[in-house]
């Protein structure tokens, strides 16, 4: 309302003045909670600074990595002219290979072509396409997002104007899965609700259901006729094994769910800046697959027309060349292993420092992130005094940890936690009402 007010009163101004002030009512946007961490890190001049913010893989020297398989793919496609006429063929190849990766190349849905697949602008773009599609064809539906989830999920479904809810997921005391509450929320949601699930390496918590728990969830979804939408951003990063990381989706597939899946190649292929991903929606038959694909393309056409070809060609080359693909599989395992090693190292360092807190979750949690349990105050303290950056929810990207900085990191964490008792620590009781925080400045 106030905007109209502003515009009305502004009409009283002379025309030339009014024409100059269209944007007066535009406020500065709040900073994105994840990218702003990188901004703060970049602005810090300390030589010991550590960026544990954005989930981008780093090697043991803390440097970004270009995978060898990508260099091979770049060399292979160099000199090929990527022209608009070729890009659609490349795009189709990408989709074909992507769905095989997630559903398994021998799965029935693949063999029968019962999927609508379109290339998307990485994971974000795939989620947004689906959210717009959901809004268009189920305008009254809601999306249930896990609590917590990647912050941008909330933005995506909100901007697509789909009402959102959350379902229980993380148990802050156990630093693990709150399975009972999760199942309750699944049961209590209205039949036929849309749910967003992280198939592996949950972001931000790193807490994944076990195989048995996934089967239970899938079963309950059948009972309730819920729509499962998977956001697969870390295939390969959870266990190091691409097939194993897709297990949850394949369980749902076996149970006959006609699910949807967003895939990202940002992390597992190191293609962050190229924005390559895929959205697939499973269907009853090919006819429906063709119809749904046409609708997804229509939505994409009004958003960005078509995806950028360079990254597409790289992924398509990697996935369809057996040698390059084999190299990729090895490199993904290498990345996952390094992160696993860093988890172990950090945990050991903390124990060696004599920290009395329970750091079991560092190695229990899976994937790129560790949901440390650090409070916002502690996070700020780490940034201010130790030049260590992470998101306010205490999420640490383990990819930013190296053999060179792990001891410094352990020491810093120990410093900020040794006087603070946050919820349900090693004593296993809820001490939140008694928490004492000594600010060390």
């Amino acid at each position: 309302m106030w905007r109209h007010q502003l515009m009305t009163t502004s009409r009283c101004f002379s025309t030339s003045i009014r024409a100059l002030h269209w944007w007066d009512h535009v406020c500065p946007a709040p900073k994105d909670p994840i990218t702003s961490v990188t901004e703060a890190f970049l602005a810090d001049t300390s030589p010991v600074k550590i960026n544990l913010g954005v989930g981008a893989y780093r090697d043991d020297e803390g440097k970004p990595v270009i995978l060898q398989c990508l260099r091979d793919a770049e060399a292979k496609i160099a000199g090929c002219d990527f022209l608009e006429s070729i890009s659609s063929a490349v795009s189709s190849k990408l989709v074909e290979e992507s769905v095989k990766l997630v559903y398994g190349k021998d799965s029935d849905v693949i063999k029968e072509g019962r999927y609508a697949g379109v290339q998307a602008l990485s994971g974000t773009g795939a989620c947004r396409l689906f959210a717009e599609f959901q809004k268009r064809f189920h305008p009254e539906s809601q999306i249930y997002l896990p609590n917590p989830t990647w912050s941008n999920h909330h933005n995506i479904w909100r901007d697509a104007q789909v009402q959102q809810n959350t379902f229980s997921y993380y148990h802050p005391d156990l630093k693990g899965l709150n399975f009972t509450a999760l199942m309750d929320d699944v049961k209590n949601a209205p039949d036929g609700s849309f749910f967003l699930l992280h198939p592996c390496a949950h972001n931000p918590t790193g807490v994944d259901p076990t195989e048995e728990q996934w089967r239970e969830i899938s079963h309950q979804f059948k009972v309730k006729n819920h729509f499962p939408f998977f956001d697969m951003a870390y295939q390969g990063f959870a266990s190091g094994d691409l097939d194993r990381d897709a297990l949850s989706i394949r369980i749902f597939l076996e149970d006959g769910h006609l699910l949807g899946c967003a895939q990202s190649f940002a992390k597992n292929m190191g293609l962050y800046g190229h924005r390559v991903g895929c959205l697939s929606v499973l269907c009853n038959d090919m006819k429906q697959a063709v119809a749904i694909k046409s609708q997804l393309q229509k939505i994409a056409r009004a958003m960005y027309s078509s995806p950028p070809v360079h990254g597409t060609s790289l992924v398509s080359t990697v996935l369809s060349d057996p040698d390059i693909k084999a190299l990729w599989v090895k490199e993904v395992k290498g990345m996952a292993n390094r992160i696993q090693t860093m988890r172990t190292n950090l945990q050991e360092s903390l124990w060696q420092l004599g920290s009395s807190l329970n750091w079991q979750h560092i190695t229990n949690q899976v994937g790129m992130f560790c949901f440390s349990g650090l409070t916002p105050k502690q996070v700020d303290w780490l940034a201010r005094e130790f030049h260590i950056y992470m998101t306010h929810d205490g999420r640490m990207s383990m990819a930013g940890v190296t053999t060179g900085n792990v001891n410094y990191l352990a020491n810093a964490i120990n410093e900020v936690t040794k006087y603070g008792v946050h919820t349900a620590q090693h004593l296993g009781t809820n001490l939140s009402s008694m928490s004492v925080f000594v600010h060390h400045s």
Binding site: H25, L83, G125, R275, A302
Partner: protein, 466 residues
């Protein structure tokens, strides 16, 4: 939805961990026995409420939530290329999509682009995320290209520039900004305009209406109509203008007409919103083609400008462009930029890096930039040459005395032939000439060798079909 499913839930209260535990092992599902069904009032014939096993559950419903979804209509522009590909006739000609072709009718990768890509390959640059607003080096050069590096608005830092996914993506960001900050404000688009403009504003939930533009009688600009419609629009409307080489008509206002358009826009407190997809393609000169935008900026107006590098750098498939918002103050520009970022984040998080690096390298390097200007000139020149030959052929073949000079007057890649839908269909069905049904032909897809054939087709369609 599927309320009948609740009956199973209540019949099997032990649908819990313990029950599940008894059913170990995977149940391999074939899909052959599953049929699509979905009626609220029907009870689920597959659910066996006696057996509480997961097995019977798993055999049940393989229902798609998207059962009733119908096939989307083919895109009128991209659909042309698809139809062309499917045609086996050797005389076929694709004058559909506005993608530049050489005289041999082959796609063309600019030499400067190859050079830039080689440089990038040698450097082996990282593939890290760009910031949400895109590559800083790209944003800088793109604004300078548009406005001139020494333009006051740039020196005063009053331009909010955000890298976007080519023209479409940049327009969509702008549309989202309009929807959020000017709810209810209308965008006026020319009649006709590029087909995807409507889709973009529809999907962004921005209301739009048309202003008169093309005059079929003169095959020229309906200037009076345009001005009248701009005057009649509610104050504070957004006016979508094509910076140069209007798509689909090829008809641009003259400099004097631009001045009058700016007058009316200022008078009515409208906001000018430029779509610049062909900078360099209209006249062959990058600066000359930006004259309309610079005219408005010079008047101190606030405006929006979407840019695309698809055509002028041949980077169609890399999706590189930008949205620029020229504001009255540095502070406004900063705030607007932050909100554009906020809109981009839930759309795609951050834009693709490859095309941005190419543009930054080409435009930012004086040698490459000069080479680009020369290639630009060559491409625009080829199109002008083809226009001339087509005009000559038409004048020679058509004895009716019809004035075909609009072919020469129209600017850029496209020509609005004045052919109607039936006539355009004749072009395709009889002559295997692929074009859009609004009578638009892309001269970029024409070469000197085929001008006579095309002239025959046009003359035939124009005179023998109604």
């Amino acid at each position: 939805m599927a309320s009948s499913m609740l009956s199973l839930a209540s019949a099997s209260p032990s649908a819990s961990l313990s029950m599940h535990d008894t059913l170990k092992g995977k149940v391999r599902l074939g899909s052959g026995n599953l049929t699509a069904w979905f009626h609220k009032e029907k009870s689920n014939p597959f659910i066996n409420t006696k057996s509480s096993g997961r097995i019977s559950m798993a055999v049940a419903v393989n229902v798609s939530r998207f059962e009733g979804i119908t096939m989307a209509p083919p895109d009128p522009i991209l659909g042309v290329s698809e139809a062309f590909k499917a045609d086996n006739d050797e005389k076929k000609l694709n004058l559909g999509v506005g993608a530049y072709r050489t005289e041999e009718l082959q796609p063309y990768v600019l030499n400067v682009v190859k050079k830039a890509e080689n440089l990038m390959l040698e450097r082996g640059e990282y593939k890290e995320y760009l910031p949400i607003e895109g590559l800083a080096a790209f944003n800088k050069v793109t604004a300078e290209l548009l406005l001139g590096a020494d333009n006051t608005v740039i020196k005063q830092q009053r331009v909010a520039t955000v890298q976007g996914l080519s023209g479409t993506g940049s327009l969509r960001l702008a549309a989202a900004l309009i929807e959020r900050y000017f709810p209810g404000a209308k965008v006026l688009i020319s009649s006709p305009t590029w087909g995807n403009h409507k889709n973009i504003f529809n999907d962004a939930r921005v209301p739009w209406s048309e202003y008169r533009y093309y005059d079929p009688k003169t095959v020229g600009l309906d200037f009076e109509g345009m001005i009248a419609d701009l005057k009649a629009a509610p104050e504070g409307s957004f006016i979508l203008l094509h910076g140069c080489a209007h798509n689909p008509t090829g008809i641009d206002p003259t400099p004097e007409q631009w001045e009058k358009i700016a007058d009316v826009i200022q008078e009515k407190n409208h906001i000018p919103f430029f779509d610049v997809a062909y900078q360099g393609f209209a006249s062959g000169s990058l600066d000359a083609d930006a004259a309309s935008v610079r005219l408005f900026a010079a008047r101190g107006m606030e405006l929006l400008v979407a840019q695309s590098y698809s055509k002028n750098l041949g980077l169609y498939a890399e999706r590189i462009g930008a949205i620029n918002v020229i504001c009255s103050s540095v502070d406004a520009a900063a705030r607007v930029k932050s909100q554009l970022k906020r809109l981009a984040r839930p759309m795609y998080s951050n834009p693709p890096v490859h095309g941005a690096r190419i543009v930054a390298n080409v435009v930012g390097d004086p040698t490459l930039f000069d080479e680009w200007k020369a290639e630009m000139d060559m491409m625009a020149g080829r199109i002008k040459g083809v226009r001339q030959k087509l005009f000559d052929s038409l004048s020679a073949k058509d004895k009716s005395g019809k004035d075909w000079s609009f072919i020469l007057k129209q600017i850029g890649m496209f020509s609005f032939t004045g052919l109607n839908k039936a006539q355009s269909e004749n072009m395709t069905n009889k002559w295997h000439v692929y074009m859009t049904k609004d009578g638009r032909i892309s001269l970029a897809g024409l070469n000197l060798a085929k001008c006579e054939y095309l002239a025959d087709a046009i003359v035939d369609s124009y005179h023998n079909v109604s």
